[in-house]
C-alpha cells in the first residue's frame, strides 16, 4: 500500500499543498490538507504502521520547569536520595506513588506510569521544545507540536470551535511550527476569562447595522479585486460572527459549571484550566494543553513540590473522575509530561537540579490499560534500569493511541522530511 517517495515529485506536492492552505484559519477542513499517503522517505519503515485509534482527543498536562520524579511518580522508599518524601499505596496493585498525590492514588487503576523516561536535554527551553515536538530545537526550523500533527491528520470535529487550545502558562509553545497558521492552537491565558473579544461591546442592533454597512462598503472592492485572499477575509468575518452567536462558545465559559464542580477542580488556574479542558473536550476540541509551572525546584524542593502536587493532584483527579463519569475516559488520552526530572542527589539548597537522564511521565485513558507501571529507574532514581523510553517514544505512544500514521513523512517548506513523533517507537504494550 505504501508507495515510495519517487512516486510524487516533492516540489509538486509542496506547491500543490501550499495552494490549498490559503484558506481561512478556523474555517477550512483540515482533512483535505493531509498529504497523500504515498509520500514517504527518510522515515520509511521506521516504526509500526497506523492502527485504528483508540482515542479521539488528547488532554496534555504539561509540568513546566521539570517535575521531580522521585517526589511524584517514582518514589524510592529507603533510598538515600529520597529525602523526606514518603510513598503511599494506590488503587493499582503493587503501585506506589508519592504521599503528595493522595487523590491521584485513588485513580491509579486508570493510569500507566512510565518510570523510564530518558533524554539528553537538560535546559528548559530546549527540553520543553523537545517534549512538545519530539525534535531537538534548531536555529533553522520550527517543528510543529503534537497537537498540530493531530489536526493535520485527523481534521476537526466541529464547525465553529477552534480545534486546538492551549490553556495558561507562559511556556513557549511551538504551536503549528512550519505547518500553516490554521493549525496554530488558540491560547487562553486565564481559563476563567475564556476566549477573548467574543462579545460585542455595543447593542446587537447597532452591531448588525455596522456589520451590514461594512459589507455594503466592501461590495465594489470585492467585485473588482476578486482574489482568494480577499474572499478569505470575507469569510473570516462571517466565521467570527457565526462563532459569536455559536452555542459552542459556551464551552469556553466555565462559570456555567456548578460551584461544587469548580471547587472539585481547585480554584487555581491549573485546576480551572483542567475544567475548561473537559468542557472543550466535550465540544469537539481535539487537542487541549494545560500548563502548570513552578516545578523548577533548585531550592526548597520539599516545600515547593508538595505545593505543586496539591494543585496537580486536585485538578488531575477531578479531571479523571469527571471524564469517567461522562463516559469519555475511554476515548480521551490524558498525558502528564515534563521536560526532565530532577537530580536524585539533594543539593545544598535543599533543592534538586535538572536531570534528563531518568524521569517519569504518565498516560491515562483513551485505550491505555490502567494500573500498570512501565519501565523502571534504578534504586537511587539516577539511571534507567529497565525499558528506556525516549521523548519521541512517549509522543509516538500518544500518536498511536490517536491512530495517527507514525511513519508518514510530511515535508517542511524547505523540503526536509518529518514524521509525527520523529520515528519514536510507540509503547504498544500500554494499550489494552
Amino acid at each position: 500500500m505504501l508507495l515510495q517517495s519517487s512516486d510524487l515529485d516533492r516540489r509538486e506536492f509542496i506547491s500543490g499543498a501550499a495552494k490549498t492552505f490559503l484558506g481561512v484559519g478556523l474555517g477550512s477542513a483540515a482533512s483535505q490538507l493531509v498529504a497523500p499517503s504515498s509520500v514517504m522517505a527518510a522515515g520509511e519503515g521506521a516504526s509500526v504502521a497506523r492502527q485504528i485509534g483508540t482515542a479521539k482527543r488528547v488532554i496534555y498536562l504539561y509540568m513546566s520547569g521539570g517535575m521531580s520524579h522521585l517526589d511524584t511518580l517514582d518514589v524510592k522508599p529507603g533510598a538515600e536520595t529520597q529525602g523526606p518524601t514518603k510513598a503511599i499505596g494506590t488503587s493499582a496493585d503493587g503501585v506506589q506513588i508519592s504521599e503528595y498525590l493522595p487523590k491521584l492514588a485513588k485513580h491509579a487503576h486508570h493510569a500507566a506510569i512510565i518510570n523510564s523516561m530518558s533524554s539528553t536535554t537538560g535546559a528548559h527551553q530546549q527540553g520543553n521544545y523537545l517534549q512538545h515536538t519530539s525534535y531537538e530545537m534548531r536555529g533553522t526550523i520550527q517543528h510543529p507540536g503534537l497537537g498540530a500533527w493531530a489536526l493535520k491528520f485527523m481534521g476537526r470535529d466541529n464547525g465553529t470551535i477552534p480545534p486546538s487550545v492551549v490553556i495558561g502558562g507562559a511556556s513557549r509553545h511551538p504551536g503549528s511550527g512550519f505547518f500553516e497558521s490554521n493549525f496554530e492552537p488558540v491560547a487562553i491565558g486565564d481559563p476563567t476569562k475564556g476566549l477573548q473579544n467574543v462579545k460585542s461591546k455595543i447593542a446587537e442592533e447597532e452591531f448588525n447595522h455596522r456589520m451590514q454597512l461594512a459589507d455594503k462598503l466592501s461590495e465594489s472592492f470585492r467585485e473588482r479585486y476578486a482574489k482568494k485572499e480577499v474572499r478569505a477575509y470575507t469569510s473570516m468575518y462571517d466565521d467570527a460572527v457565526r462563532l459569536m452567536k455559536s452555542p459552542d462558545l459556551e464551552a469556553f465559559d466555565i462559570s456555567q459549571e456548578p460551584e461544587s464542580v469548580r471547587e472539585a477542580y481547585g480554584s487555581d488556574k491549573f485546576g480551572q484550566g483542567c475544567l475548561l479542558a473537559r468542557r472543550l473536550a466535550e465540544n469537539g476540541v481535539r487537542h487541549i494543553e494545560v500548563t502548570l509551572g513552578g516545578w523548577d525546584t533548585h531550592q526548597g524542593n520539599f516545600i515547593r513540590v508538595p505545593e505543586r502536587c496539591d494543585i496537580l493532584d486536585r485538578g488531575l483527579a477531578a479531571l479523571i473522575s469527571d471524564l469517567e463519569m461522562r463516559g469519555m475516559l475511554d476515548d480521551t488520552i490524558i498525558a502528564l509530561a515534563t521536560e526532565f526530572g530532577r537530580t536524585p542527589r539533594i543539593n545544598q539548597n535543599v533543592g534538586r537540579d535538572h536531570y534528563p537522564k531518568a524521569f517519569s511521565a504518565m498516560l491515562v485513558g483513551g485505550g491505555i490499560k490502567g494500573g500498570q507501571r512501565f519501565g523502571a529507574s534504578n534504586e537511587t532514581g539516577e539511571e534507567v534500569a529497565d525499558k528506556k523510553v525516549t521523548i519521541p517514544d512517549f509522543n509516538a505512544t500518544i500518536a498511536y493511541g490517536l491512530g495517527l500514521p507514525l511513519n508518514q513523512v510530511l515535508y517542511s517548506p524547505s523540503k526536509r522530511p518529518f514524521t509525527v513523533a520523529h520515528k519514536g517507537s510507540p509503547l504498544v504494550e500500554l494499550f489494552s
Partner: protein
C-alpha cells in the same frame, strides 16, 4: 479625480519598463492599466514607509497639480524617518531579531540599535553584511556582534543561516549527510563552517575572574560542599554583569566531522579547515585574517548569489513577488521569471554600490510599479509576467502602523523613553563590569570568600525558615506559610543587595559616575541621566521614570498650546490619550521585537522571529474578533485621536465622511457611499461617523494594498 501620468522616469527605470514590455510583447500579453493617483498614493506610503497616509497627507498629494508630484513624493518618503521604521521590520524578520526568549537576552539591545542606525544612515548592503559577519568585541562597543550572539553555541546552524540569508542557498541538510536535492556535500558544509567556527559569544569577564574560578575549583583543600558554595558565590557576583557580552574570534578553532561520517574523503571526527563552497576566497597571510577573507568572498560583487539574493528580495518587497521564488533556495538550475530583467537589475545593484534606498527608488519610478495591482491567482510564481505589482494583504506591521497613524499624531517618533531606560541600564552594567574587571585576583578571592560565607549564613537561615514553613503547612496555617515564604524571598534579595554594597559600591565610589546625556526628540532638548539611577537588578529607579514622565508631559503641554486646547476637560482627555498613544501606539519597529504573545501584531501574523522570515498573512477568526470587538476601535474613535480630530475639524457631513475615507483608504467617498451613509443621519445622527470608521476598518479595502 483625474489621474496624472507617471513621473518622468529615470533612465534605469525606463530600461526596466522596456525589458518588461518586450517580454509582454513576446508573450502577447497586455500590461495592467496605470494606477490612479489614489492607488499610487496609498501604495507608495505603505511600501516606502510602512503606513497609510493621514487625511491631510492624502489631501495634499491629491490636490497637487504638478506633473512630477509622484517622483517628489517618492523622494520625500524615502528621506523621512518612516523609511527606517519600515525597513527595520523587513530586516528584523530576516535576522530573527527576537528579544523575548528565556534564559537571558536572546539578542543584545545594542544589536537592535545597530540595525536601526544602519538603515537610517542607509549603509550599503554589502557593508552591512561584512559588519555582521565579522563583528567582534563587546556588545557595548559593537552592536553588530549580536548577529553571532543570536546563534551562540550553535556554530554549525549559524553558518547555515548565514548562507541562507545572504547567499539564498540551503546548506542545512548537508550538516548530517550530502544534500539530497542539491550538489552540496557534507564536506562542503564543514569547510564552510570552519570560517566562522572560531567565533564565540560569552559573558565578558576579566581573565583574573576566570583564572580564580578555575583555581578555586581545583583547590584540593576545599570540600565538595565548600566548592559548590564558592561556585555559587562566583555566579552571584557576576549576576549584575551577566548581560555584558562579548564575541571573540580564535582562528585556530575548527569544526570536527561527526562520529558517524560515512563518506570516503575523510575520517570521522577529523578536523576540517576552511574552504568556500564555490569560487575562491582571497589568499590570507595568517589564519587570523580568514574571517575577513570569508566576508570579502561572501560580499564580493563577483559572488553571483550574493547580488542575486538582495536584488530579488528588494524587487519582491516592492512588487509583492520575487522574480525567483522562494527567495532563498537558489540552485545552479534556478531561472528568474524574466531573465533579461533580472540580469539587468543585478547589474544595477552593483552599479548602485548596493545602495538599497537608491535601488528601491529606481523600482518605484518605473511605470510597471505604478500600474494597477494584479489580482491573478499566481499558481507558479516563476510564470508571472509582472504586468503590475501583485495585490497583497498588508503585513502585520503595516496594519498596526496604519492604525497607529489613525491614533498617534507623532507616528514617526522614536520610543525615546524605552531608549533612555535601555541606555541607563547599559551604562550601569558597563560600569559594574569595569568595576569587577578592575579587581586584582587577591581582592577578588577575598570577595568570593566573603560572599560564600555570607551566603552560607543565609542558607542556614533559609533552611530553618523552610522547616518552619513545612510545619506551618502541615498545621494548615496558610497565613503563616505565606509570611514565611515572603521572608525566604527577602533573604534571597538580601544577598543581592549585600553584593552590590560590598563588592561593587566600594569600587564604583572611587570613580564618580559621568552623567549620560540623552538627546530627546522634537525640540525637547537634552536630558542628563545619572547612571546610578538603577536598582540592585540594574533596572531604572522610580525617580528616573518620574523624570521621563515630566518630559512627556512637557511635550504634550506644548502640543496643547499649539492646538489651542485650553478647556480643562478637553485638556485632561487629550493628556491622557496622548500619554497612552506615546507609550502603546508606537510604530511596530519601536516596540519589543517581536511583540509579545497575544499582541495585535502577533495575531495578524508578525513573524515570531525564531526562524528566518516567518511572517504570515493568512486570515484567522481571532483577527476578526479583535477588529470588531476588541478595545482598538474605541481608541481610534476617541475624540482625541488623529482621525477623530480631523473629522471634528471638517465642517459639513460630506466633508467629514470624505475625511474618514481619506484617512482609512486614501480616497474620498464616492457619491453612492455618501448617499449610503447620509441616509442614516436622521436615525443615527453623529453616530454615522463612528459607523463609517467601523465599517471601513473592517473592509478588505483597508487591509489590502491594491
Amino acid at each position: 479625480m483625474a489621474s496624472v501620468e507617471a513621473a518622468e522616469p529615470l533612465s534605469p527605470s525606463a530600461k526596466i519598463d522596456q525589458l518588461l514590455e518586450s517580454s509582454w510583447q513576446q508573450q502577447g500579453i497586455e500590461p495592467l492599466p496605470a494606477a490612479s493617483d489614489e492607488i499610487f498614493l496609498r501604495r507608495i506610503y505603505l511600501d516606502a514607509i510602512g503606513r497609510i497616509p493621514t487625511a491631510a497627507e492624502a489631501d495634499k498629494f491629491l490636490a497637487d497639480s504638478s506633473t512630477d508630484k509622484r517622483s517628489a513624493l517618492i523622494d520625500e518618503l524615502l528621506a523621512s524617518p518612516g523609511y527606517g521604521n519600515h525597513a527595520f521590520n523587513f530586516w528584523a524578520d530576516i535576522l530573527r531579531m527576537n528579544e523575548n526568549l528565556g534564559g537571558g537576552p536572546n539578542i543584545v539591545p545594542s544589536y537592535i540599535d545597530w540595525l536601526r542606525e544602519a538603515l537610517e544612515k542607509n549603509v550599503p548592503y554589502d557593508e552591512m553584511v561584512r559588519q555582521l559577519i565579522t563583528a567582534e568585541g563587546a556588545s557595548s562597543e559593537n552592536g553588530a556582534m549580536g548577529y553571532t550572539y543570536r546563534d551562540r553555541g550553535m556554530p554549525l546552524d549559524h553558518m547555515a543561516n548565514t548562507v541562507r540569508i545572504f547567499l539564498g542557498t540551503r546548506l542545512e541538510c548537508a550538516q548530517c549527510h550530502n544534500h539530497p536535492f542539491d550538489k552540496w556535500t557534507q564536506m562542503d558544509f564543514f569547510h564552510m563552517a570552519a570560517y566562522s567556527y572560531g567565533m564565540s559569544a560569552n559573558g565578558r569577564r576579566s581573565t583574573a575572574f576566570g583564572d580564580l574560578q578555575q583555581e578555586m575549583n581545583q583547590d584540593k583543600e576545599l570540600s565538595r560542599d565548600e566548592k559548590r558554595n564558592i561556585q555559587r558565590a562566583f555566579q552571584e557576583i557576576s549576576r549584575p554583569v551577566r548581560n555584558d557580552l562579548v564575541v571573540e574570534y580564535s582562528a585556530d578553532k575548527l569544526p570536527q566531522l561527526p562520529h558517524d561520517y560515512k563518506y570516503d574523503d575523510a575520517e570521522p571526527k577529523q578536523k576540517i579547515g576552511a574552504k568556500t563552497m564555490f569560487g575562491e576566497a582571497p589568499e590570507v597571510a595568517s589564519p587570523g585574517e580568514q574571517l575577513h577573507a570569508y566576508a570579502a568572498w561572501m560580499t564580493s560583487s563577483e559572488n553571483p548569489r550574493f547580488t542575486k539574493v538582495i536584488t530579488n528580495r528588494l524587487w519582491k518587497e516592492a512588487m509583492g513577488l520575487g522574480l525567483i521564488e522562494p527567495v532563498d533556495e537558489l540552485t545552479d538550475a534556478t531561472q528568474a521569471a524574466v531573465p533579461e530583467l533580472f540580469d539587468y537589475l543585478c547589474e544595477q545593484m552593483v552599479a548602485l554600490d548596493y545602495d538599497m534606498k537608491a535601488f528601491l527608488r529606481m523600482i518605484y519610478h518605473t511605470q510597471t510599479y505604478q500600474r494597477e495591482a494584479s489580482v491573478e491567482e499566481i499558481l507558479v510564481p516563476g510564470e508571472y509576467a509582472f504586468t503590475g505589482p501583485v495585490m497583497r494583504r498588508m503585513s502585520a506591521e503595516q496594519i498596526w502602523d496604519s492604525i497607529v497613524t489613525l491614533i498617534n499624531s507623532t507616528p514617526e517618533m522614536s520610543n525615546w523613553r524605552g531608549e533612555a531606560e535601555r541606555e541607563i541600564r547599559e551604562v550601569a552594567a558597563q560600569r559594574m563590569s569595569d568595576a569587577l574587571s578592575s579587581k586584582s585576583k587577591a581582592e577578588m578571592r577575598r570577595d568570593v570568600n566573603r560572599v560564600a560565607n555570607f551566603q552560607k549564613d543565609l542558607q542556614d537561615q533559609l533552611v530553618d525558615l523552610q522547616k518552619q514553613q513545612a510545619q506551618a503547612r502541615k498545621a494548615k496555617d496558610t497565613k503563616l506559610t505565606q509570611e514565611l515564604g515572603k521572608k525566604s524571598n527577602q533573604l534571597r534579595n538580601q544577598l543581592r543587595s549585600w553584593i552590590m554594597d560590598q563588592v561593587y559600591e566600594p569600587v564604583l565610589a572611587k570613580s564618580p559616575a559621568q552623567p549620560v546625556v540623552l538627546q530627546l526628540p522634537d525640540g525637547l532638548g537634552e536630558m542628563s541621566m545619572d547612571p546610578n539611577q538603577v536598582d540592585g537588578n540594574g533596572r531604572p529607579t522610580g525617580a528616573f521614570r518620574k523624570q521621563l514622565d515630566a518630559k512627556t508631559n512637557q511635550l504634550i503641554e506644548r502640543e496643547m498650546g499649539e492646538l489651542g486646547i485650553t478647556d480643562k476637560r478637553d485638556s485632561q482627555v487629550y493628556l491622557g490619550f496622548r500619554r497612552t498613544a506615546m507609550a502603546t501606539y508606537l510604530r511596530a519597529s519601536q516596540l519589543r521585537t517581536p511583540a509579545p504573545a497575544g499582541h495585535f501584531l502577533q495575531q495578524f501574523g508578525q513573524s515570531d522571529r525564531e526562524t528566518i522570515e516567518n511572517a504570515e498573512a493568512a486570515a484567522s477568526v481571532p483577527q476578526a474578533l479583535t477588529m470588531i470587538n476588541g478595545p482598538l476601535f474605541q481608541t481610534i474613535s476617541n475624540p482625541a485621536s488623529v482621525l477623530m480630530r480631523a473629522v471634528a475639524d471638517a465642517e459639513q457631513p460630506q466633508e467629514k465622511i470624505d475625511t474618514i475615507f481619506l484617512s482609512l483608504v486614501g480616497r474620498p467617498a464616492s457619491q453612492k457611499e455618501h448617499a449610503l451613509l447620509l441616509a442614516d443621519v436622521e436615525s443615527r445622527g453623529d453616530k454615522i461617523y463612528d459607523d463609517a470608521v467601523f465599517a471601513l476598518l473592517n473592509s478588505p479595502e483597508f487591509l489590502f494594498v491594491r
